[in-house]
Structures are given as structure tokens and as C-alpha cells.
């Protein structure tokens, strides 16, 4: 939702189409670029993109991560055969990359191939948005970590109600060659940034050759909520998952259920050996339950994060609960200690609590012996339409399946069951 990263390939493809359109064909933008995926046939690729054979090339992974040079994932000034050999070697390779916020592991699957452009000057150019203004950053010291040379950065703020076509760029730029042409180009890029609903657009570095801007590295995010009005302008844009995010089978299953319904079902497995499991209704409440487990000092015992909301059917809550229970009861705690299941939620607006609990209860009943085997203790807290009936069914269920089960309603603070369970954990 909202701001989504796109591939460098898509960003450049989009700009190559947009720059001539927005500038009235006065400006152009390199459109020689190709994306290689595991399905690409590298033998026949040059038949369609003949420039691959005629030019020296740059090759790099295109999977929403930066610092590719520092991670030895950048191939510069090679011919097609060398590029082909390198891609073949790197494709599907498991790697670990170092980024500003730590290490991430994942598989290489997509590569961007472009002509190699010999150049001297490396600039920095970025467009971002704040609540009241758009911000254009420019520096003549590109190609490095821009935080390190922040003093050199020129900042232009454009109020959100200003006309992008009337923005004065030139007077803000430092004295450099081609300043007029460059500022015209920046203005066109800014108009595209606005009109194409970019949420972020950064070129580091960018160079200016033969009266045209040549972006060497590009990072971009689009506001995907604008898809309904930008479908044609964007063309077929992919919104890949961040590098290294892979789903377990269970997470993928819940995600597939989530896609098929108007309701919302989310599951992230944090620590399969954790002893505190959550089954929480509502996006806001689910965050608070997880927060409270962490804030009370038991983040290491938190097994999962997830939520169900938007009035899911009985069948969906049943499937969701079953998936969580299955993960929870695979192996009893090696030290024989109990596990804790928090069936939580705030006060629902209109969701029928009794109805949604039907699916939860059906799954719990099915897992009766597994729950006993794993010494599971259950804590329930919920409010909203028909909550009394729902809580009563839960209470009866506890007696029926002979699993310790405590039930609370809106008179009890929402996260009280977290502290109740955690008092047990620390015992």
C-alpha cells in the first residue's frame, strides 16, 4: 500500500518514455536497457536488443537493494559475452549483502543491463516529499554516500500547491557547466515526479553528457494507490518484495487466503520455538499485543505476529487458527514448559464476535490433544457486537477440551491477558 519500491529497470523505462512526452520531445533519455530474469534466454536476447552486441555494458542486480559496488555485485565496461558469463554465474546464487541497516540474505534473480557510459562528472539528484513541500536535492559530489558530503547538497523546497512547470531550479544550482540545460532537465524530471505519482526518486550518481542527463544508479518508489489513474503512464510495473524477504509455507498459505478475500489475514513467523503465540483480531490491536509482549521484556518468546480482521468468514478464521495452532503444537517445549496462546482483540465496531469465534473454536476443538500435549494455556479477551455470547462459547470450550482457558471482556484492559500470561512465563 502507498509507497512501493520499483526496480531500477522499471524506473528508467518509465522515465525514458516520460521525458520526451513531458518535455515536448525537446529532451531525451536513454532507453537502451534490459532486465534479465531466470526466464530470460541470454542466447537470443541480443536479437531483440541489438545494442547489446555493439556496446560496452554495465551489469548489476536489480532487486531493491543498494551498495552493489561495495558488495562486489557490479560489472562495468564489459562486452556481451562477459556479461552473459557473469549473469549465468550469479543467477540464483544465495548471497548476503551488507547495507546501512545490517545484513540481508537472499537469492539473486534479476539483473539490469545497460550501455556503459564513460564520464567524468558525477552528480547527486533526488526528489522526496514532505507533508507541505516537495524537496529537490542536488549536489556536484555524487557517487558517494551522500550523508558524508551533505554540506555540498543544495535543497530546493517546492510547496505542494505550486505549479511544477513554474519552479525555479537554475538560481539554486551551483555554478557548473551546462547549468541551464541541466536545470531544464531537472524541472522536467520534477514534473514527472509529480504527475507520475512518484513517492521517491534518487539518482546517485547522475551525469550530464551531450546535453542529456544520464542516470547511472536510480532508486525509485511509486505511490501504488495512484495505479487507477496512472495505469497507462506506468505501463506494466512490478512491485517486488524487498530483497531477502521469503515466506515460510504457512506464511505463504495465509497470504494466499488473504489475497482471495476482502477480509484481512496476516501471519509472520518470528520464532517457532517461542512460547507466546498471538491470535489477534484487528490490525491496530494486533500491533499492540505484540508491542506489549516485547515491552514487558519477552520479545524473545514472541513466536508470531499476525491479525485477522474485516469480518472474515467462519471458514477463514478456522483455516487461520488451524495454521497458527499447527505451528504452535509441532513440538512441545524441550524443557516441558507450558505455551501460551493469546486470543485477543479490542472492541469490534460491527464484527459479530460470536460468529468469528465459531471458526476459532472449531480449530481449537480439533487440536484438543495437541494443545494438551504442548501444555497450552489460553487467554481470551474481546469486546463488540455479541461478545457475551462469544466469550461464553469460549468458556464452555475450555471445559470441553480440558485446556486451561481464561476469558475476559471489555471490563478488562485490552492487554491485561498479555501480562497475565507473561507472569506465568516468568514463573
Amino acid at each position: 500500500m502507498a509507497q512501493k519500491g520499483i526496480r531500477e529497470y522499471d524506473a528508467k523505462r518509465l522515465l525514458a518514455k516520460a521525458v520526451p512526452e513531458i518535455s515536448g520531445n525537446k529532451l531525451r533519455f536513454n532507453d537502451e536497457l534490459v532486465l534479465v530474469s531466470p526466464e530470460t534466454d541470454l542466447e537470443t536476447l541480443p536479437n531483440k536488443h541489438t545494442w547489446l552486441k555493439d556496446q560496452h555494458l554495465v551489469v548489476k542486480p536489480d532487486q531493491l537493494f543498494g551498495k552493489r559496488g561495495k558488495n562486489n555485485l557490479l560489472l562495468i565496461n564489459v562486452d556481451y559475452d562477459q556479461a552473459k558469463a557473469w549473469i549465468t554465474e550469479q543467477m540464483n546464487r544465495q548471497i548476503t549483502i551488507k547495507q546501512t541497516n545490517g545484513e540481508t540474505s537472499g537469492t539473486l534473480t534479476h539483473f539490469l543491463v545497460e550501455p556503459f557510459v564513460p564520464h567524468e562528472k558525477e552528480y547527486y539528484l533526488a526528489f522526496t516529499s514532505k507533508r507541505e513541500v516537495d524537496v529537490i536535492h542536488f549536489s556536484t559530489k555524487g557517487g558517494v554516500d551522500i550523508e558524508e558530503v551533505w554540506d555540498s547538497v543544495v535543497t530546493i523546497e517546492v510547496p505542494v500547491l505550486a505549479d511544477p512547470a513554474e519552479v525555479d531550479i537554475a538560481s539554486h544550482l551551483p555554478d557548473i557547466a551546462n547549468k541551464g540545460a541541466l536545470s531544464e532537465f531537472i524541472k522536467v524530471l520534477y514534473r514527472i515526479y509529480c504527475e507520475f505519482h512518484f513517492a521517491y526518486l534518487e539518482f546517485n550518481p547522475i551525469t550530464f553528457l551531450n546535453e542529456t542527463i544520464v542516470p547511472l544508479d536510480t532508486v525509485a518508489k511509486l505511490d501504488d494507490t495512484a495505479a487507477f489513474q496512472c495505469a497507462e503512464r506506468w505501463g506494466k510495473v512490478e512491485f517486488p518484495k524487498p530483497f531477502g524477504s521469503s515466506n515460510t509455507r504457512e506464511e505463504a498459505y495465509i497470504a494466499s487466503l488473504d489475497e482471495k478475500t476482502g477480509a484481512s489475514l496476516k501471519l509472520t513467523l518470528l520464532n517457532p520455538n517461542g512460547r507466546v503465540w498471538t491470535l489477534v483480531a484487528g490490525g491496530g490491536a494486533s500491533v499492540i499485543y505484540a508491542d506489549t509482549v516485547v515491552d514487558l521484556g519477552f520479545g524473545n518468546e514472541l513466536a508470531n505476529y499476525g491479525e485477522y480482521s474485516g469480518n472474515p468468514t467462519t471458514e477463514l478464521t478456522y483455516e487461520y487458527t488451524k495454521t497458527v495452532l499447527d505451528l504452535m503444537t509441532r513440538t512441545p517445549d524441550p524443557h516441558g514448559r507450558p505455551k501460551y496462546l493469546l486470543i485477543g482483540g479490542g472492541i469490534a465496531n460491527f464484527t459479530d464476535v460470536a460468529k468469528t469465534f465459531t471458526g476459532v473454536i472449531r480449530a481449537l476443538e480439533q487440536y484438543k490433544s495437541k494443545l494438551q500435549e504442548n501444555k497450552v494455556q489460553i487467554y481470551v479477551r474481546r469486546g463488540g457486537p455479541n461478545y457475551k455470547e462469544g466469550l461464553e462459547s469460549m468458556r464452555k470450550l475450555g471445559e470441553r477440551i480440558e485446556v486451561p482457558l481464561e476469558v475476559y471482556g471489555p471490563e478488562t484492559h485490552m492487554t491485561r491477558i498479555v501480562s497475565l500470561a507473561l507472569e506465568e512465563v516468568s514463573r
Binding site: 500500500m1 502507498a2 509507497q3 540481508t104 516529499s129 507533508r131 507541505e132 510547496p159 505542494v160 500547491l161 509529480c194 505519482h197 513517492a199 505511490d223 494507490t225 495512484a226 487507477f228 489513474q229 524487498p242 531477502g244 524477504s245 484481512s264 496476516k266 509472520t268 518470528l270 484487528g282 490490525g283 491496530g284 490491536a285 500491533v287 499492540i288 505484540a290 508491542d291 506489549t292 509482549v293 516485547v294 515491552d295 514487558l296 520479545g299 514472541l302 505476529y305 491479525e307 480482521s309 479490542g346 472492541i347 469490534a348 465496531n349 460491527f350 469486546g383 463488540g384 457486537p385 455479541n386 471489555p410 471490563e411 484492559h413 485490552m414 492487554t415 491485561r416 498479555v418 501480562s419
Partner: protein
């Protein structure tokens, strides 16, 4: 109205969109608050004008539907709020239109997924015009005892329990709307209640911010303490810390930023809200809670003692006599909606209608319990469907085939018969399909198409009374009644009617017994001796075989009599012959025939010169 107030007891609002349930909930809230008038003056629905009926307590009232914002504002210039339920596609344009109107001052945008640039333009435009936007992507909020936005605050039960029908001393603002009910509950249990609550919506660039509303509450003398619930992502919470530091916010504030669990989650987790994603260290929940704490705001250690902090702050204000707890009253009852009461098993009523042949209220509609898809898949055919809907029986294949055979045979009998003639005359008079068809159907009765019915009745009479065929014929003769179903214009014993032969063969090879047919044929032997064209004709054959079929299907004599009495045979004739009548109608239309007028020379005019005088 004061500049810090968006809603009062007198606020009048427009609802953009056809959200009747939301309007009713607002009216129920108004009624519970003991207001004199509803807060909704009109619904703006471009597709329809007129009015919509709502309940005001137990009484029904009309609320107009108006097709444009311009018309709505000129008709109700005192309404200054618009609750915009339009979809993400049109929410921006309509909100802009409302902001540009003279009278609308506050727009609540419900839609999720409004593009961020459009949200920012809306926010900037509202600011420029000194107007307010709440949302997008919000459920809205509530001004206790005064005004409720759309579906905010949930069910009436919740509103009653959280005492939202009268103002308390607490001003609340949150990002999330989903948690606002929980927050109102916490506030009701730990203070004298909510004064005003707003959910600004979960997008990165909401039309108004947490601080915007806190500053409003700061100026409102009725609000004595502030409660706020923030969220990871963005930096809006720092604005609040700064406002406390520079003295713009002085009232006691209890605040918590959710999302502290993000640090144990893998990667950069995007929670449900578009804005809920920390892109830098300062955007994390921990950093923001720290900054707020340092600014002197009351921040709990976790959400688990949020309510304790609220209670402590409230108690202190009471002790200092800054707060005099709000007085309570028992709000009027809101009658439960019939639908809801039924669901909860609280009411029952007698039905005025009953259907035992089909049910379309489930997921798949059914014919007498057979789902419609099964009817198709298992080739029930027209005969099988007649079995289900007329007889309420799943009849065997031969019975279905027999009925379809009958329908084919009686589908048409030329343009000269009275029914077809009427249809053609009506069609030529320029009447539509239904009128022309019905004009033909109206002739069906004892004389036209009635022979089937009559034959069944006559032969059943003889058969049941065990009259020998010869005696039956003489009895009928003595009564001067022509036996129905006997006699043909052309066909004779020697030159039998092919259709009759086909039906007889079919019945003999498929029915276990053909008692009435056998009886009718024994009668035919007697009549045909008198004249060789006095044979069992098509109508007679259908009549007797149909009775035989019903007997095969185990209907009792009484049931068969009831069906004949209810017009079953006419039904069969009407169904089959409608095919022919419609054929004649289409034929006349294709031929573009002109109005029919009967030739004068075909009419005998035998009118007396003067009428006889009487009386």
C-alpha cells in the same frame, strides 16, 4: 461557532454517498443524545434524487437525496460538514469541490487508497482556506453528546456503554480508527468520559494531524485533559513534543506510540496502515515514545499501563478541582432494528407469504430443494422442472419425456383457432408481446383447449363408477352431454391420428398401467361403431394419459381431483400453446401486418328497427 469546534449539538451535515446504514446510526446517536433534530440534512447521491426514509426513535422521517454538492449547499447553507463516502477514485475531486464551496467547513474522507499527492494537495488547500479535513482512510470520530461521524463508535450498545451520549472532559485523538472503540472504552472506564474523539486515518499524509486536533482541544475550555495514541512511521509525534516544549500544549497529555514490536520483526515491516513503517531510526515507536517522555508528556512503559496513567492523570485533575465530573443521565432507548432483533432471537412475527416449491434466499436458489445447478447438470429438462414446481416431485425420466411430448404436440394448432386468432388481431392492432399473448390466452377455457380437462373428467366419471363403456355412452347420451375427447374432423378408425398413436405407444411401453386409457379406448369402440370418426382424439388422449401418469406417480384420487379442479390441464395447455401464440405474434411483427378490420359482408346485421319498449 468557535474556531476550535468542528461539531456541536447544532451541527448539520451532508452525507456524500448512499450509506443509509451510516445515516441511521448517526440519527440513532442524535436521538440517544436527546437532540431535537437529526444531524443529517441530506444525502448527496448523483445517481438519484428524491428522499430516503429513516427512523427517529420509533417514528419514520424523510431525508432528501440531492444529486450535487452545489444544489445541496444552496438548499442547506447552514450545513457545514460533509462526510465523504466516495471511493478512492472520486474522493479527491469531491473533497476539493466541498472545500471550494462557501458553506462546507469540514470534510471527513472515509476512502482508503487516496494517492498521497492528492492527500497533500487537499491538506494544503484546506489549510489555505482555514477549513478542516479528517482522513482519508478513517472511520471519523465522535463529539460526545453532540455529533457522530458516520459509522464511528460502532454499535449503539457500545455508544451507551462508553457514555458517548453526553460529554466528559477528555479530548482523544489517534491514528487508527479500528482502535477508537477500545480507546473510548478505556476513557469511559477511567475518567468521566470522552468529550471529543478523532481518528486522523492511517495514511502517511492525513488531511489533519494529531497535533492539529490536540491544539483544538487545548483551546476548548470543556476539555481538561488530552489522550493520544500515535503510531510508528513519520515524525508527527515530534511536533507534539515540540508543542509541549514551546507551551502551545499545556493541558495534561497521556500518550503512547504503538509499533514498539517492530524491532523484533524481520526486515521493514509494513503494518496495516500506509504510514505505519519506520524508514529511519527517528520514526520508530521507541524513539518517539522517548522524545515524548523527555518533553514531559505522560508516556506509559507499555500499552498495558496506558489506562493506569489516564486514570492517575484524571484523578489528579479531580483532586485539584480542575475537573468536576460530568453528570450522567439515562439516555433514551433506541429501538432495535427488526433484522438485528430477529438475528438475536428477540422478536418473531407471522409471515404473510409461504412458498413450498422453491427457495431463492440461500446461496444457490433451488426448485423444491434441488439446487438450480443440479437441475441443469442432471438434465431435468422442462418435464423435470414441471415435476418439481407443479407436483413437488422428482419424477422419473419417462414422465418428464411424456410431458415434453405433450407440450410439443399442443404447442400450436394453426392461426384459425380462437386463441391464435385473438393473438394475431391484437398484434396487428400494434399491441406488445404480453398483451397479444394474453389476448390469446384469455380464450382458453371450457370450450377452447378445455377438451383435455373435460375428457379427463368424463372418462374418470365412467371409470370410477365402473360403468360398462356401452352404459357410459348411453348415460351421456341420455344427459345430452357430448363426450369430451371423442371425435375428429378428418381422422377415422382406418386413418388414425399419428399423434395419438405415438402417445399410446409411449404410455404402453413406459407406464405400468394405463387403466383410464384402456377405459377410454373401450368407449371409443362403442362410439366408432356409430361413426368411424368418433375416435379418441388428441385432447382426449392427453387427458386420460395424464390421469394415468398421475396415478403412476402415486397421486391419490383426491389429489388428482384437486389438481384437475385447480386447472392442471389448462395449465399444460397454456404452457404449450404460449409457444405457438408467441410464434404468431413474432410472425405478424416480421410481416408488419396492418390493423385487422373484419369485413362487413361477413357480418349479418339483424338489428330491429326500434327496440321493444318495456316497463
Amino acid at each position: 461557532m468557535k474556531d476550535y469546534e468542528l461539531f456541536t449539538k447544532d451541527t448539520k451535515a451532508f452525507i456524500y454517498g448512499g450509506q443509509t446504514a451510516a445515516v441511521q446510526r448517526m440519527l440513532d446517536f442524535d436521538f440517544m443524545c436527546r437532540k431535537d433534530e437529526p444531524s443529517v440534512v441530506a444525502m448527496i447521491t448523483p445517481e438519484r434524487s428524491g428522499f430516503e426514509l429513516f427512523f427517529w426513535g420509533t417514528r419514520e422521517i424523510r431525508i432528501p437525496r440531492i444529486t450535487s454538492i452545489t444544489q445541496a449547499t444552496s438548499r442547506y447553507p447552514t450545513a457545514d460538514v460533509m462526510i465523504n463516502f466516495a471511493s478512492q477514485r472520486s474522493a479527491y475531486d469531491l473533497t476539493m469541490e466541498a472545500l471550494n464551496s462557501d458553506s462546507i467547513r469540514t470534510v471527513i474522507v472515509i476512502a482508503e487508497g487516496v494517492p498521497e499527492r492528492q492527500e497533500r494537495i487537499l491538506a494544503a488547500t484546506a489549510k489555505e482556506k482555514a477549513k478542516w479535513i479528517i482522513g482519508p482512510a478513517t472511520v471519523g470520530g465522535v463529539k460526545a453528546g453532540a455529533f457522530k461521524i458516520g459509522n464511528a463508535a460502532g454499535t449503539m450498545q457500545n455508544i451507551r456503554e462508553a457514555k458517548l451520549y453526553r460529554p466528559g472532559s477528555v479530548g482523544f485523538v489517534s491514528v487508527s480508527g479500528g482502535l477508537s472503540n477500545e480507546a473510548y472504552n478505556i476513557i469511559a472506564r477511567n475518567t468521566d468520559g470522552l468529550n471529543e474523539g478523532v481518528a486522523i486515518g492511517g495514511d502517511a499524509f492525513p488531511g489533519s494531524t494529531l497535533l492539529d486536533h490536540l491544539l483544538r482541544y487545548e483551546k476548548n475550555p470543556d476539555i481538561k485533559m488530552l489522550v493520544c495514541l500515535g503510531e510508528l512511521g513519520g515524525t508527527a509525534e515530534y511536533d507534539i513534543a515540540n508543542a509541549v516544549k514551546d507551551g502551545r500544549l499545556t493541558k495534561p497529555l497521556v500518550m503512547w506510540v504503538t509499533g514498539t514490536c517492530a524491532k523484533v520483526l524481520p526486515g521493514q515491516v509494513q503494518f496495516g496502515h500506509a504510514g505505519a513503517k519506520a524508514k529511519a531510526a527517528i520514526e520508530t515507536a521507541d524513539a518517539k515514545n522517548d522524545a515524548l517522555r523527555k518533553a514531559g508528556i505522560t508516556v506509559p512503559d507499555s500499552f498495558d499501563d496506558y489506562h493506569e496513567k489516564i486514570k492517575q492523570t484524571y484523578t489528579k485533575l479531580c483532586d485539584e478541582e480542575i475537573i468536576t465530573p460530568a453528570e450522567d443521565f439515562t439516555p433514551p432507548n433506541i429501538p432495535v432494528n427488526y433484522k438485528q432483533a430477529t438475528a438475536e432471537g428477540l422478536v418473531r412475527k407471522r409471515t404473510n407469504f409461504i412458498s413450498t416449491i422453491c427457495d431463492e434466499s440461500g446461496e444457490v436458489h433451488n426448485y423444491c430443494g434441488v439446487p438450480i445447478d443440479e437441475v441443469i447438470e442432471k438434465n431435468y429438462g422442462i418435464g423435470g422442472v414441471i415435476g418439481l414446481l407443479w407436483f413437488k416431485k422428482d419424477i422419473p425420466v419417462y414422465a418428464r419425456q411424456f410431458m415434453e411430448m405433450v407440450l410439443q404436440i399442443i404447442a400450436d394448432h394453426g392461426p384459425a383457432v380462437s386463441g391464435a386468432h385473438n393473438t394475431i388481431v391484437a398484434a396487428r392492432a400494434g399491441k406488445d408481446l404480453i398483451s397479444s399473448l394474453v389476448s390469446g390466452l384469455l380464450t382458453i377455457g371450457p370450450r377452447f383447449g378445455g377438451a383435455v380437462n373435460g375428457a379427463a373428467e368424463h372418462f374418470l366419471y365412467g371409470f370410477r363408477n365402473k360403468l360398462a363403456s356401452r352404459d357410459f355412452v348411453s348415460q351421456m347420451k341420455a344427459k345430452n352431454v357430448r363426450i369430451q375427447g371423442i371425435g375428429h374432423r378428418l381422422h377415422t378408425v382406418e386413418n388414425p391420428d399419428k399423434r395419438v398413436e405415438l402417445m399410446k405407444d409411449f404410455a404402453r411401453s413406459h407406464f405400468e398401467k394405463t387403466d383410464l386409457l384402456d377405459y377410454a379406448l373401450s368407449v371409443e369402440q362403442v362410439t366408432s361403431q356409430k361413426k368411424n370418426n368418433l375416435i379418441l382424439n388428441v385432447d382426449g388422449c392427453i387427458g386420460v394419459l395424464f390421469v394415468d401418469l398421475l396415478r403412476e406417480l402415486k397421486f391419490t384420487d383426491t389429489e388428482i381431483d384437486e389438481m384437475i379442479d385447480a386447472g392442471l390441464f389448462n395449465a399444460l395447455f397454456v404452457l404449450g400453446r404460449s409457444i405457438g401464440f408467441m410464434g404468431h405474434y413474432f410472425d405478424q411483427r416480421r410481416l408488419q401486418t396492418s390493423l385487422y378490420r373484419h369485413p362487413l359482408d361477413d357480418i349479418l346485421y339483424d338489428v330491429p328497427s326500434r327496440p321493444e319498449k318495456v316497463g
